[in-house]
């Protein structure tokens, strides 16, 4: 019997869904010659997903407890995840170095111990971020001629 709270069940749903989606993409209205190798992979993946399902269904009646480090700490993760997504989506528009500086500052402010309105901390963290960006800019843009997305700024 499947226990929805169990980590094994979640792993099974995760892997079996991915395997089925891949299999559908391989077999649905596609050229067998072009998709031969992916089709073989898809069949094995679905078979292994079913083995995983069998394994999860044989779990003991009590669902296994998820260790603290294995559980997703949504509250802690969400701000960082949001900053990451905005950073990645905006670098082409505002430029890599500006975007990186803002992302760096947001992360160290959100996850730092001191409060947002602490001016001294804000100044200190901005300074570290600016130094990091200057080092990266000097090293890569000027020395190694590695180009990054420029956008409005740099």
């Amino acid at each position: 019997m499947l226990h929805i709270d169990s980590n094994e069940t979640k792993a099974t749903i995760f892997s079996l869904t991915a395997a089925i989606v891949y299999a559908i993409a391989c077999f649905w209205d596609s050229d067998p010659e072009v998709y031969l190798f992916p089709r073989i992979l898809a069949v094995i993946m679905v078979a292994l997903g079913l083995v995983q399902l069998l394994k999860a269904s044989r779990e003991k009646a009590e669902p296994s407890t998820v260790p603290a480090e294995a559980a997703i700490q949504w509250k802690a993760l969400f701000p960082g995840l949001a900053v990451t997504v905005v950073f990645v989506l905006s670098i082409e528009t505002i430029g890599f170095y500006t975007g990186s500086f803002l992302a760096f500052l947001c992360i160290v402010l959100v996850y730092g111990k001191r409060k947002w309105n602490d001016r001294q901390a804000l100044l200190y963290k901005s300074l570290i971020g600016a130094i990091l960006m200057l080092v990266l800019y000097g090293l890569f843009w000027k020395l190694l001629y590695v180009r990054t997305p420029e956008g409005w700024l740099i």
Partner: protein, 496 residues
């Protein structure tokens, strides 16, 4: 003794600067809790992209060597292993630190890492060329089975669950099929313009290894997990080095076990330290001292960790089957420089290959010297806050991925894979089989399609793929690795 002919190429100013920089950066990155050697090497690969192959590989090799040893610093000082390979080091190292002998423990750590490391590199030097010559006999079917063996071994031995490990390897293989079909050139799974060029190896490496680490560091930063650092204490360098050299039994156990574990594909350094520690304890006259600050525990564990580095490259450089997850990442580094494992490395690319291998020897010496120096001043490394590391790794990940081919699509792919990997890791999936699947996927598919064409014009495809001594040996090894992992998994489940 061909390696001696290329020794002088290591000693150019540029290469020495790379070795010193790579070793220092590797020791510091390795010492930061939570930053694994695999992640450090993956993050460094894009920066080698613009270098000559030899220079790039020298930097990656130095990082690999130093991060493994550097992980012992945090294991000893704050009881948080810098990498899983350093778990055994923490058992006695931290006990010594508690009694004000942290510097002495670090001296043992770097001296034994150096001895084990040098022995391991000599195994690499003498075992690799004959094995590479064997690879000359490989045709499409053998290469196909080698690729499958690589995914199977790292998916089974290197993972907590056989099924999850194999599934991760297969997901990696399936990701490698995005883009053009290698024979017919027609597009597959290109549902967005960003997928037109498929999944670039480096984007996958960074996404799978570095991005999940960023999110883990963020979680830990919010939980405010700070560790207390004990006083480093005074230690006479020459006295502790001389003591270390006299511990021949612990050094031998560590080095031999490190070599054996390293040469077994997929096993990796994560277990070599623990196995060596266990054996040193069992054969000790005073086993009860282990866990209480026994130097032999550190010596055996650290010599094993670094003795594993060289041998883990033997199956990699000859058969493209990595001996550890970090070696799998190094395979990506070889491929982006146009170097394909096998006999060509020791014929066409002999100069680059031998320069790289010789540089690993020099890196061991630098690791010893810089490591012993850092032993006196390593406390500050532990004070770098996790959220600063998270922000810096995030920026370097995006920069490193973009810089490969100035492609924003690579950045999006890297980030998507990284986020998926973070959530998948919570369900027990590891990144190493996935990465190896992506790297070995094109090799498996190309050779499968070639073998199929040859088989169809002869005795049949099935017969072609399953006949011949090497094919049978490789298929048997695939089966053995799966059966052994299922057996050992069920045994440990019944025990626990």
């Amino acid at each position: 003794m061909e390696f001696l002919l290329h020794f002088d190429k290591v000693f150019t100013l540029y290469h020495i600067a790379l070795l010193v920089g790579g070793t220092l950066a590797g020791l510091i990155l390795g010492a930061l809790p939570g930053l694994s050697p695999t992640m450090a090497v993956a993050l460094m690969i894009p920066f080698t992209f613009h270098m000559q192959p030899a220079a790039g590989l020298i930097l990656l090799g130095a990082m690999y060597t130093a991060t493994v040893a550097g992980g012992a610093i945090s294991a000893i000082l704050v009881n948080v292993p810098g990498a899983p390979a350093n778990i055994a080091t923490a058992l006695d190292g931290h006990q010594l630190a508690k009694t004000g002998r942290a510097t002495e423990a670090l001296h043992y750590c770097f001296t034994s890492s150096f001895i084990g490391g040098v022995i391991g590199i000599f195994v690499l030097i003498f075992f690799t060329p004959p094995l590479a010559r064997l690879a000359l006999k490989f045709g499409p079917t053998e290469l196909f089975w080698i690729a499958i063996l690589g995914v199977t071994i790292i998916g089974t031995i290197g993972s907590s669950s056989v099924v999850k490990g194999l599934l991760a390897g297969l997901f990696g293989l399936s990701l490698s099929t995005i883009g053009d079909n290698p024979m017919l050139g027609e597009e597959r799974f290109v549902v967005s313009e960003h997928l037109e060029s498929g999944v670039h190896i480096v984007a996958a490496l960074i996404g799978l290894f570095a991005v999940p680490q960023v999110f883990t560091l963020m979680e830990q930063a919010m939980a405010d997990k700070t560790a207390s650092i004990y006083a480093l204490g005074d230690s006479r360098l020459f006295k502790s080095v001389a003591y270390n050299l006299r511990r021949i039994r612990a050094l031998s156990i560590g080095s031999i076990i490190g070599i054996i574990v390293g040469i077994i594909p997929g096993a990796g350094g994560q277990i070599s330290g623990l196995v060596a520690y266990d054996q040193a304890k069992k054969t000790s006259k005073n086993p009860s001292a282990f866990g209480q600050g026994e130097p032999d525990g550190i010596i055996a564990a650290e010599s094993a960790n670094n003795a594993m580095v060289g041998p883990s490259l033997v199956p990699l450089l000859t058969l493209s089957v990595p001996g550890s997850p970090t070696a799998a990442v190094l395979l990506g580094g070889l491929l982006i420089h146009g170097l394909f494992p096998g006999p060509d490395l020791f014929t066409i690319h002999a100069e680059v290959t031998w320069t790289f291998i010789n540089s690993l020897l020099v890196a061991q010496v630098l690791m010893l010297v810089i490591g012993l120096f850092l032993s006196q001043h390593s406390g500050w490394i532990m004070k770098v806050p996790g959220h600063y590391m998270a922000a810096t790794i995030l920026i370097l990940s995006v920069f490193g991925t973009y810089s490969i081919q100035s492609s924003y699509s690579d950045v999006l792919i890297m980030m998507s894979l990284g986020m998926l990997m973070y959530f998948a890791s919570k369900f027990g999936f590891g990144p190493a089989p996935l990465v190896l699947g992506i790297i070995l996927g094109p090799i498996a598919e190309d050779n499968f399609l070639q073998g199929r064409l040859i088989g169809e014009s002869g005795d049949g495809v099935f017969s072609y793929f399953t006949s011949g001594t090497i094919n049978i040996v490789l298929i048997s090894l695939c089966v053995i690795s799966i059966v052994y992992s299922v057996y050992s998994g069920s045994r440990s489940a019944s025990k626990g």
